[in-house]
Symmetry: C2
Subunit: 435 residues, 2 copies
Amino acid sequence: MNVTELARAARAAAGPLSRSSAEVRNAALAAMAAGLRDRAEQIYAANREDLAAAAAEGLDAPLAARLSFDARKLDGLLEGLAALAALPDPVGRLQLRTELAPGLVLERAACPLGVVGVVFESRPDALVQISSLCLKSGNACLLKGGREALRTNRALFAAIRAATAAAGIPADWIALLETREDVSAMLACDRDIDLLVPRGSNAFVRHIQENTRIPVMGHSSGLCHLYVDASADVAMAVRIAVDAKTQAPSTCNSIETLLVHEAAAPAFLPALAAAMAEKGVELRGDAAARAIVPSMNPATDADWDEEYLGLVLSVRVVPSLDEAVAHANAHGSHHTDAIVAEDRAAAERFLAAVDSADVFWNCSTRFADGFRFGLGAEVGISTGKLHARGPVGLEGLTTYKWILRGSGQTVAPFVSGEERFTHRALPLDGGSADA
Amino acid sequence: MNVTELARAARAAAGPLSRSSAEVRNAALAAMAAGLRDRAEQIYAANREDLAAAAAEGLDAPLAARLSFDARKLDGLLEGLAALAALPDPVGRLQLRTELAPGLVLERAACPLGVVGVVFESRPDALVQISSLCLKSGNACLLKGGREALRTNRALFAAIRAATAAAGIPADWIALLETREDVSAMLACDRDIDLLVPRGSNAFVRHIQENTRIPVMGHSSGLCHLYVDASADVAMAVRIAVDAKTQAPSTCNSIETLLVHEAAAPAFLPALAAAMAEKGVELRGDAAARAIVPSMNPATDADWDEEYLGLVLSVRVVPSLDEAVAHANAHGSHHTDAIVAEDRAAAERFLAAVDSADVFWNCSTRFADGFRFGLGAEVGISTGKLHARGPVGLEGLTTYKWILRGSGQTVAPFVSGEERFTHRALPLDGGSADA
């Protein structure tokens, strides 16, 4: 099947999938886990081929670590599948229940989006995580992984498709796309795909947005800030800065720019410079920062807009909390920004004024993550404001329907005034309108 | 100011507006009401000029009714403003509260989107309704109304801007656009506008979507269906069909196509034809329908995809409920579709399988409306699935932020296993993590 046909088949599968019971979907998650375990050796063998091919092309160590799929990664995934199956069913959950008039009851109930297209990076484990989130939330999916992981992805996909089909899910609920041309073809399937989730660079997300009519939930870059307030505890600020910069420098929730209040800078910056030097981090400071720590390299204007994804940190001294907020709002990617402060009022002002998905006080930006937030897993981290914002878990893969059940009501008597709306809120857990 | 400057000024106003208290915003709604009352004569005079100009261009009666702004309409708006002020504050509402670890508490709290651009039709009262919804939900807005209502809109806008500024809202929170060129310029303001709500034809909404990077919540056409099941009560089905077609034929929640099960058709169609003839509705039937009611005009394939917005109804006989569902999903606009059935299981099957924002059982499609749903008012009816679906009230004008408050936590000890996440759900109404 070509991509258009795969999308149409996914749409056809999405109907029965959306109406399947939580029991069926959870059993299919268990079947998915069993299928992956059964075919583990085939999957590892495919992964060894991918690794060998990548090595021949000269892959670096971080990519090799992301690309490899071994027993440890499989164990983690199986644990994740069991945890996902145990989560409450996101489908059918009542969000609102109102008696509009006697015998006329409105409900708003969560339902699957339908068909979701996801383009993700080199980690093959992402294929299992994303497809399982889609299955749990009753969505069909078209998946395109990294080119380097193609053999591994094919093996994972075959295991998942066979196991879930045997568990009663229409086989076409999942499709694997393999090429860039497939992705281009997918962008035109606006009748059969309800949501695209591109994970990658800012430029990649923007390219997708500009070339499709399908709604896009962008998981784009993370240009995150840490602001050290005048009231900050210096030791805490250094500890958080080191974690936020160095614990995993290539991730989107690591910081790229540190802003420090001019009153805190003389005590804080020398301590920061010492700690960062130990971790091999290059600091690039503005003039005020370099006046305190002359060993910093000078920052240029371009530094405030760059996501280094490595051991570089730009540093700017600001005259006020408001200036820190303005800097983060102007230069950040509205992903995650944090303040270190002892002054609670200052912290709350920062949390309210920074226009980002995640706003943190006295903790590391690295906590911005679906698993760490307790959402089970995430299909991405959205930096947009519509639909879902920040880490997107099961809830972000659902929409809702308004369901109105009557007994023959027409609108005319309500317009004439003969009948009146009651608009009585009803309990979500059953209480009837006639009660 | 040109549109780019208006958008930038609205963005600047949106910050303080988003952080204003519910008391301030509700007082501003009261001031808005008082301001409109105080300037009522000026507004009526402007409206008389609009009506005269439109009459000179030969406006028809329905447009004149929509365009006119008189004491009756003002009274309705003032009532609406008072009701809106009395609604719970949509800003700051906690949606989730979780202890991630001791002393590390995550909250998800509703917040305004920021700046909203709305393009609406000829009714000048829409300007008051939309701007008041934006104000209540803490959003700045750029508004473009119908060309015919420009003088009335200017008078309403001036009253609203002056009254709300006097009540302490930054004056630039609201802007009035006047021309098509203004709308085009607005589409380029993707840094300063967070959401566009175009209200109009399908083609218009699509034009907007294809020419902007700003997220669009389309309020597009309503091609709604009524399906009369084999188990339907014929009298009820006729009554609902008449209301859904004729109570206000030019509205988006009126029906365009009636589907009837072949088992119900012989009893239902003659009764429908008699009732519709009385209302002056032209019926266009497929061959099976015309075999029962030969006086119907023949329907062509194009009829299943046309929103008549007038007294025409296409009629198709279907062999099964599944075929009715397939027809509605293929030809509808995913707005509102209804079933008339005595068989509850059949009804529930229809409600689950039809992929529309509103799915109704034994009542008229005309109930699909924010006010009738008890939402206060609506900024539009979304036929998309992302963010908000169906009637969009205050909630659709908000997003949320993830707020994490800690006491110095870093991620490293959680990764090493030294510390563990607790992921304990906390009550939304206060209970502390340390309790």
